[in-house]
């Protein structure tokens, strides 16, 4: 884990120039995505990696391309080109060449990786309106081939208890609050013990106290899984618990496309915030735990 933000920026720069570690869950270099419309937009990811248990925050203004990058990492958006773009699930020796899979249009492989190794938390939860909260949460575990039922049940108990949503399990998403939906979405993203958890502006529609709790939960629950959170609320991630990267946009001329690049965040305030204490509640996903919310 990174000790403090400024040191991390240096670490990240060093890491940026280094060879991609074979143990990284995700590795990408020279990843490019362009979008048409207006003068156009081009996102370039020169070098980005994330390993087991690492927490990475993507910051940037609205429209800078955070969601675009998350969608490419989530294997639901095809990049235009890539040097390295690979994914290695936890506990696996095999590194999947995502760019090659895109080129071969082997969507079944992506579907399998998404089912087993990916958790995705959307801005508004993204719960399926026709399923109860319990069914929404257990769906990824039920879809993951070979996932033991006992693990699913233990994890379900632990997550729902920790997230304080046991009283919501039989309700439909439309009948619960936005904050509650977001906690359910976190449970759904983690139920199947994915290698990588992606959270796209998970606190954008939450009030500040609830947003704080959601971040605490994410950090605490993603001990093994790698976590990438996109947010435009930079103060919430400048706590020392995240590697912080930012997407910056350079406006071109009237005819040149907007160029967006991702780089380690270095523009820390002069009096850097002290690292806030990590969440103190111990969460054991196998045996259940007390809740943040009760």
């Amino acid at each position: 884990m990174v000790s403090d933000p400024e040191n991390f920026a240096k670490d990240a720069s060093a890491e940026n120039s280094a060879e991609i570690d074979a143990d990284n869950i995700l590795a990408c270099s020279d990843l490019v995505k362009t979008r048409k419309g207006g003068v156009g937009y081009r996102l370039l990811v020169e070098n980005l990696t994330i390993g087991k248990g690492e927490h990475l925050a993507l910051i940037g203004d609205s429209g800078s391309g955070k969601s675009t990058l998350l969608d490419m990492i989530a294997m639901i958006l095809k990049p235009d080109s890539a040097g390295e773009f690979s994914f290695k699930p936890l506990g696996s020796d095999k590194r999947n060449d995502l760019w090659r899979i895109w080129q071969k249009a082997n969507y079944a492989l992506f579907e399998g990786l998404r089912r087993s190794e990916l958790g995705y938390i959307m801005q508004t939860g993204g719960l399926l309106p026709f399923l109860t909260v319990a069914d929404n949460i257990t769906l990824p575990a039920d879809l993951k081939v070979g996932y033991p039922k006992s693990d699913r049940n233990d994890r379900f108990q632990a997550l729902t208890s920790t997230l304080g949503i046991t009283h919501l399990l039989n309700k439909l998403p439309s009948t619960i609050s936005v904050g509650e939906r977001q906690r359910c979405a976190i449970a759904r993203a983690l139920i199947h013990a994915p290698s990588l958890v992606l959270a796209d502006e998970p606190t954008a529609s939450l009030d500040p106290p609830t947003a704080d709790k959601v971040f605490e939960l994410l950090l605490d629950l993603c001990k093994e899984s790698a976590l990438i959170v996109s947010t435009h609320e930079r103060n919430r991630v400048l706590t020392g618990h995240f590697k912080v990267w930012q997407i910056t946009c350079q406006s071109g001329s009237d005819t040149q496309p907007i160029e967006a690049r991702i780089s380690p965040f270095t523009d820390f305030p002069k009096s850097a915030p002290e690292k806030t204490p990590a969440p103190t509640v111990k969460v054991d996903l196998r045996k259940g735990a007390s809740s943040f919310f009760h």
């Binding site: 969601s67 639901i76 969507y107 579907e111 998404r114 990916l118 995705y120 719960l127 399926l128 990824p140």
Partner: protein, 379 residues
């Protein structure tokens, strides 16, 4: 969806009910399939034996000379009536619509007759009524009459035989002709000259083709045999034109109303897919394949289609029942004003389900071309 489906079923129901029955009856009216010879001819029994083997012949029965084919019917307290008689036999198409199969297959005895409705009304007859038949002849200058007891076996409705007619067995008809020719009829106890064995000759016949198209073929066949005939060619053309017109009109109505129903079904299905686009994108994100999502979408549409079809068909059956109850009394000639067979109802439902399933499948296929990432955020 149901709002479009019910009118479509009603249009089909009326086509099959009121119009279908009317057209079918016109097509099936035996009078339109009747062929009778023109002029005075003498036909031997072997002519009839040969003609009966023609594939277009449904029913054929000889008739005696028109001049001798009358009978005087006498009922107590009523004025006697001279009535034209015709021969009949089991399977007579003129009777098929009126009588049950058992009556239709009954071979009339010498004392049994059918009477037309007009005769029944004039003489106060009904099935089972007994009366007297009187046949007269002139021998020299002397008028002679013989009687026989008769029993009415049935009354033929006015739309089948609008005139005053009696139908009896061919044997009785021939006996009446023989009696009028001066012969004795021992079977009936009528006096006269002793009959010698001879081959009977008939001057007329009633011939019915199996269908309207057979009429023309039989006319040409008989023309080859030098028998000129009278057919209902004009009526047949009218009936065929009417059938064609009804078919065209209802086809047009079906296209308009049915088109509306199916367009509504298609747009409903597409709308449903668009509405669930975000959910479908989330399911894709969770790793469910496009094929499974396509099946899921189509299954959902099929289920909606099934419910819509069932709802529409229940409403249609209620409407049809109401229409039939309302018009039933006034239109007794029509079995049902609005009706659809179970097969057609099932077919309509199945077509709707297939249409909705296909539409949703197409809608999903076109939407799934869009990146799942767009689907998650666009809606």
């Amino acid at each position: 969806m149901i709002a479009f489906m019910v009118p479509m079923l009603t249009v089909l129901g009326i086509k099959d009910g009121i119009v279908g029955t009317l057209t079918r009856r016109l097509l099936e009216n035996p009078r339109n399939r009747e062929i009778s010879p023109i002029g005075t001819r003498s036909f031997r029994p072997d002519f009839f034996d040969k003609l009966k083997t023609h594939p277009d012949v449904e029913f054929l029965i000889p008739e005696t000379r028109e001049i001798s084919a009358t009978i005087n019917l006498i009922v107590q307290d009523r004025p006697a009536l001279d009535i034209d008689i015709y021969s009949s036999a089991p399977g007579d198409p003129l009777l098929s619509e009126t009588f049950d199969p058992q009556t239709l297959n009954h071979q009339l005895g010498l004392n049994e007759i059918y009477v037309s409705q007009s005769v029944a009304e004039k003489l106060g007859l009904e099935a089972g009524t007994e009366l007297i038949g009187r046949v007269g002849r002139t021998r020299g200058t002397r008028a002679e009459y013989s009687r026989l007891p008769l029993k009415v076996m049935g009354v033929i409705p006015i739309h089948i035989t609008p005139k005053d007619n009696v139908f009896c067995s061919l044997d009785l008809m021939r006996m009446i002709e023989d009696y009028r020719s001066g012969y004795a009829i021992p079977e009936l106890g009528w006096p006269g000259q002793e009959r010698v064995e001879f081959v009977p000759l008939y001057s007329r016949f009633r011939l019915y083709a199996k269908d309207l198209d057979g009429v023309e073929r039989l006319r040409l066949h008989l023309l080859d045999e030098n028998v000129e005939t009278l057919t209902q060619a004009a009526q047949i053309k009218l009936v065929k034109d009417l059938d064609h017109s009804f078919t065209v009109v209802f086809l047009a109505l079906f296209v308009v109303v049915g088109g509306g129903a199916f367009a509504s079904a298609a747009s409903g299905s597409i709308d449903q897919v668009v509405k669930t686009r975000r959910s479908l994108a989330v399911l894709a994100l969770l790793g469910i394949s496009k094929f499974k999502l396509l099946i899921f979408t189509m299954f959902q549409a099929a289920l909606t289609g099934l419910l819509a079809a069932l709802g529409a068909e229940v409403l249609f059956l209620l409407l049809a029942k109401t229409l039939n109850a309302y018009f039933g009394g006034n239109m007794s000639a029509i079995d049902e004003v609005c009706s659809l067979s179970a097969f057609k109802l099932a077919a309509a439902g199945l077509i709707l389900i297939l249409f909705m399933t296909t539409a949703s499948g197409c809608a999903y296929t076109s939407l799934s071309d869009i990146e799942p990432s767009e689907g998650m955020r666009d809606v």
